[in-house]
Structures are given as C-alpha cells and as structure tokens.
Symmetry: C2
Subunit: 451 residues, 2 copies
Amino acid sequence: MQFQLTADYIQKVTQLIVNKQDNELKELLHEVHFADIADLLEEIKSKEATYLIKLLESEITSEVLMELDEDVREKILNRLSPKEIAKEIEEMDTDDAADVVAELEDHIQKEVIEKIEDESHASDIVELLTYDDDTAGALMAKELVQVKESWTVAGCVREMRSQAENVTRVHSIYVTDEDGKLTGRLSLKDLLTASAKTHISEVYIPKVDSVTVDTEDEEVARIMQKYDLEAIPVVDEKGILVGRITIDDIVDFIKEEAEKDYQMAAGISQDVEADDSILQLTRARLPWLVLGLFGGLGSVFILQDFESIMNNPELKALFFFTPLIAAMAGNVGVQSSAIIVQGLANDVVKGSLWSRLLKEVGLALINGIVLSILVILFGFIMNYKLEFSLTIAISMLSVIIIASLIGTFVPIILDKKGIDPAIATGPFITTSNDIFGIFLFFYISKIILGF
Amino acid sequence: MQFQLTADYIQKVTQLIVNKQDNELKELLHEVHFADIADLLEEIKSKEATYLIKLLESEITSEVLMELDEDVREKILNRLSPKEIAKEIEEMDTDDAADVVAELEDHIQKEVIEKIEDESHASDIVELLTYDDDTAGALMAKELVQVKESWTVAGCVREMRSQAENVTRVHSIYVTDEDGKLTGRLSLKDLLTASAKTHISEVYIPKVDSVTVDTEDEEVARIMQKYDLEAIPVVDEKGILVGRITIDDIVDFIKEEAEKDYQMAAGISQDVEADDSILQLTRARLPWLVLGLFGGLGSVFILQDFESIMNNPELKALFFFTPLIAAMAGNVGVQSSAIIVQGLANDVVKGSLWSRLLKEVGLALINGIVLSILVILFGFIMNYKLEFSLTIAISMLSVIIIASLIGTFVPIILDKKGIDPAIATGPFITTSNDIFGIFLFFYISKIILGF
C-alpha cells in the first residue's frame, strides 16, 4: 500500500517531462496519492513541477498544491498565469483557497479572484480573507451541510445531496432557524432512523458547541481537543452560522505549534526545516547565538572581578567549577521553565503563586542536596579541604534554587503579560541563568571563605 | 457556551456531596460536559470524586473516567468494586475499555472482565489486550460500520442502523467480501444517492488505505496525517478487517509525542506535569542533573590541566572565557540536534551524509565567523592584544564547528541504530559539548599561543 519515492522513480518522471511524454506521465501518476505527488514535486525543479501541475487534472493538482511546502508552492504559482491559478483554486475548499490567495501578491490576488468562474466560491474566499490571522474566521471553511428546523427529513436528505457535493466529508449536519442562526445539530444516525415525513425540529439535538469568528485559533484547538470534537461550527457576532472548522486543520495547527515551541526551546526562532537553505537557517539561529555570546562576554566581567583569587593556591580551584555551575544553572532553569510552559499550555498551573514557589524551592532543595552530596564526595576523592567542598556545595545549592525560581517565574510573568512563555525556555533562560549562577557562585564563595 | 470551573463551584459541589444531596448534585451536573466534570473531579478528593462517579449515569461517567489523568483515574478505580468498574467499561468504546483494563492489576483485570455482561464486548477487550503496545492493534477500536459487497443499499442501511448504535461517529463504511477481507469503502454520499436495490459491489470504492495490527503507532500517525485521513481501517495478517483507528486518538498521540520530545529536550525524562508531586518531578529531573554534574566535574579535570597559565598575566584571561565557550558549544549543539531530530521525524532529512556534513560546516562557519568578529571587537574594546583576541575567536570558531557536527550526527547515528534521536537534544548534547568545547578551546589556544 505504501508508495516509495525512489531516486529511480524521480529520474523516470524527469525524463518523461523532458521528452514531453504526456500520456506516459498521466498513466504513471494516475494511481498515485496527491500527498505522494507533492513529495515528488518537492524533489524536482520548479519548472518541471509546474509542467506536471499544468498536465494533471486540477482536481488532483489542487490537492497537491495544498500539500506542498509554502516556498515550493510559491515558486510554482509564480510560473502560472492568474487564469491557471484560478482553475486550481476553483477545486479547493474555501479555507485552503483563501490560504493560497493570501500568499499571492496583492495585484495578482485581485486578478486571480476575478478569474474564478464560480461566483459564490469567489465571494466566500473574499469573505475569508477579511478575517484576522490567528482567529477561527481564518481557519474555517464555508463548506458545510446546513438544514433548517422547519424542513422534513425527506427534504433534508434531498438538500443534503446537493450540499454534500461541495463537502468532502460530512462531519455534522448543522441546524439553523429561518434567519440562519445556529440552533443545534442533527446526527446521521437520527437521520437514518427517522421517518421521511418527520420534521427536523422534532429530531435534532438543540445543543451544539460553537465558536465565533474572532475566537483565537489556540482556543479553538483547545476546545476541539478537550471536547473531542471532529468539527466545530463557527458563528458571527449575531449567532448566524458562517462556517466550520474540521479536526484535520487542527491537527496541522497542533503540530505546527508543538514544532514552534520545540524550536524556541532549542534557540531557533523561525519555522525552519533541515532542508532549508543555509541563509534561512542562519537567520533563525544566529540571533540566539549572539544573545548567548553577549551572556558569555558578561561572564567575562564577573570572572575578572575575582581574578585575584587566581594567586591563591587554595582558592583558584573555584575557577575550575565555573562550567559545572553554568551547566547546573542552565539545566535546572530549562527543566523548570519547560514544565511551566507546558503546564500553562495545558492549563494545569493552578493554585497560588505562593504554593508554586514553595513547591519549586522544595524540589530544588531535594535535587540540590543530592547533587551537593555528590560534589562533597568528589571533593573527598580529590583531597579538597572540607571547607572548600562545602563552599562549592552550598553555593551550588543556592544557584540551583535561584535558577529554578527564575525558570519558573519568568514564563509565568511573561504569560501574565500576554507574551508567549515558550520564548523563556531556550537560550534566554540558559544565558541569564549562566550569568546569575556564576555571579552567585563566586559571591557566596567569597562570603563563606572570606576572600 | 464555555463552562468555568470556579472555586465557588467546587465548594458547592463538595458541600452537596458531604450532605449527600444526590438530587441537587444530579441537577447541578446535568448539563455539564463530561470533560468539564473530569476537570472538577481532578480538583476534589478521590473519595468525593468516587461518590460522583457512583452517583451519575455510567453513560456519562465512563466518558469522564477517560478524560481523567491516569493517576486520578487509578485512585478512583481503586475505590470501586470489580462490578462497578465493569459497569463503567460496558459503556466505553473497546479501545478506551482496553486501555482502562490494562491499567488495572492482573487479578482485578480478570474479575472485571468476568463481570462484563455483554460477552462480545468482553471478548473484544480481551482481544485488544493481546496486541503489543505501540502498535495499531493497541490503538484501534473494534467498533466500526462494516457492510458486505453482496448486500443491497437497502439492506446496507438496515444493517448500518443496528451497527451504528455502537459506533459514536460514522467516519467511513468499510466494505468486505464474504470472508471479512477488507476490499474497499463506501461514501455516505454514494449511499444517500444510490437507489435502494443497487448492490454495494456496484457503488463502493474498491480502494482504501489500511494498516495492519502490527504497524507501529508512529507510522499510523504519519500515514493518517500525510493522507489527511480521519479514520483508518486495521486488518490482520490475512487482510481480515479487525478494527479502526480514528483521528481523535491520533491527535492525543501527536500531542503526547510532542510533549515527550519537548521534555526530553529540556532534560525531563518521564511524562510529568506541573501539578505532579515533588517526588515524581524529582525522579524525572534528577538523573539529567546528575549527568550534567558529572560533565561539570569532568571539566574540572580539563581546566586543572591548564592551571599553570593562571600565573601568566597575559594568558589567565582565557579562564574568563570558559562560560562563553561552554554556552556556545551547548547552544550550537542543541540547535543542530533539534533541527535534525525534527527533520528525522518529518522525513525531510534526505540526501547523503556527505552533503549534510558540508551544509552543517557551512552553516557553522557563517555563524561562527559573525560571532568571531564580535569577539574580536570585544577584545578591541577591552584592549586585549590582537593575538589573544584572534586566539579566542579561532578556537571558538572550531568549537562551534565541532559542536554543530556532534549535534547533527549523534541524532542521525542514534536514529540509524533504532534509538529515539530526541534523547540527543537535551542535557546529553549540552553536557558532552561543554566538555569537548572547553577542552578544544584550551587545546587550540595552547597550540596557537604556544604555552
């Protein structure tokens, strides 16, 4: 069942394109799934990819275009005329169509929309383009199956046949009143079992979860996941049914969000992939490295201040522990912040800040004491003076407590200020904890050892 | 539409439970969604939660139980008799039921299964328990709508009515031959439009994606996402239709995997949440901190070896740069590994290892040169000798190149060996890069400056 995209296969397709063997190409790609054709197009030159897009049925190619990486799609669309683009868009669901149109340059957008023959499709797309990014309006599609309370089951089935033409998957049948206000939903089961003359008002479920066009996309994803919904209707501010969001869009959304958070935690600031260009990857990575560099240069100043102890044979070993302290401060901070960031996303960070503080300190104390004991054992093996080992252990313990508090409360504060707390997991927390940690380590050592 | 779980509400419910005001409780919770009831139960004591589970209809409570955190569910189930558990399980879909039964202790498992009245439900659960974790068999449910090629549309609708009773959502109608072998699927649209006497064999789509019971869960998630499937049928080794997997299970799976990877990158080894106990959190965090500690202690040895330069007024400043070098090595390593780990998961790491090597070196060179220039500028401001600044810049550049290669190739090698590469993103890569980086920094400086 699985299609394997081999180098041989790619070469064969390229050869057929060069030779313009259209019939052979059509035959070869006839049974191939559009997601696999998309994979193929990402491996060949955009000129050749465009040739295939023009050659194959737009019923297939419209799906292929949606599966492509945005930059590959852009290259191909640049090679198509507005009329050709319009032909592809006619075949797309309105949500996909609006996404593609939004990617086009302004003057081409207008031309493409004018060339769409189905006027209601065109006006649906224009409507979807008016909604803000990151809202339910931008996520939803206009395709849905809608019946009125006053209809009979037989009339409903008749209507559904024609509506279902445009709807790839019937998730739910939405019921509205005469004005189009959403009032409930109808299950397929009930429709199958009710007699033909029954009125919808007698069999429908007068309760349905819905979101409004300005509900934030994150909130939509949260609701659909929490209540296990496969589709959710979208209403305008008057309660009129205007669209629906299906779970497949939410799956993509969840994946993208998870990847963004993961990348942010790793110090990568844009949505890049392993196969992006060196320039794109540099732009995503360099800023965070520069931040880390500044942090490191900051530590230079701190360490310089303690330069004098390099002349003290008993104290200079403190310098050997700077990587250890930096690593501990960084690791503890990343752990604490990751747990809080996930907790905030999943809504499990409850209770007062005060109890959270106590918990973090408790946790840091337990971890810190175990690690301190290991350090003291290490000092014993290395024949350090007990006073020296204890100093390292105590200052490390303090660093661990402070680092965990920074890791916990920076995301919470960011979240309260409406900033994505995920930004606080990666290099940001490591860098600040490095500096704090090293300073604290030397400062506490100074107090204890009195240098 | 949104339910808000307030402290007042929780208190009210608790009070009603204490007073045993069953009718008031039933009325209060009557319209509340099971996911919200689950949230409520996670906030009250397990004794009170169990009271509610016993009080409400098992049609609702079975759903509530599935929404609960595993540890909360365990506490409640421990307070229920096998018969009471069986009653809840009767109401669950087979996949959920099997998950819950699997969580029970062995001797209770047997008792519970014996107490399930619906024998076919019980035997379905027993069957599901036989499949390996992490396979399609363990993910699938037995509930599905299945029709035979030889049936007529009218017979099919009749059969569907009774089958649909047990199926919460009709995603697809699967078509089999007389032996139960999966041969295709039927769209609801075709069923709605075909005449009653037509045979299924004339209208069904003789092509359907499927997986086998031993397909790995990750592969199932990949296929369903790639081909935008909302449900996929599962067949046994003979091609007999045995179950189906729906997208909502995959949504949960994707989220869990993303959270696991995120936690792994942050150095947290078990699936923990912000509201877990200090002990659970310690168990998840401490091992990685100990790893970091050993790494830090390793660095002590390396730095000790260069102790003599502390007496050299021109060279001792090298020590001030250890946090900078460790941070750079760590950050670059984490960035490289995160991109590769995601690339491996999304299947975009293509091309030869050789071209990957060239790309990483190129990327590290560009980033490294920019950072080196900043370091030289810093040296200029600080009045360092040019030779000294250049030494730091060159050795830092080498560290960056090596760190990015380690970050890239460790996950690739792990992946080839069948080990989850995500393990290589967090403390593992930071710790090893810290040590390598610091060693390399001093060693290269030694070569250049000749000490």
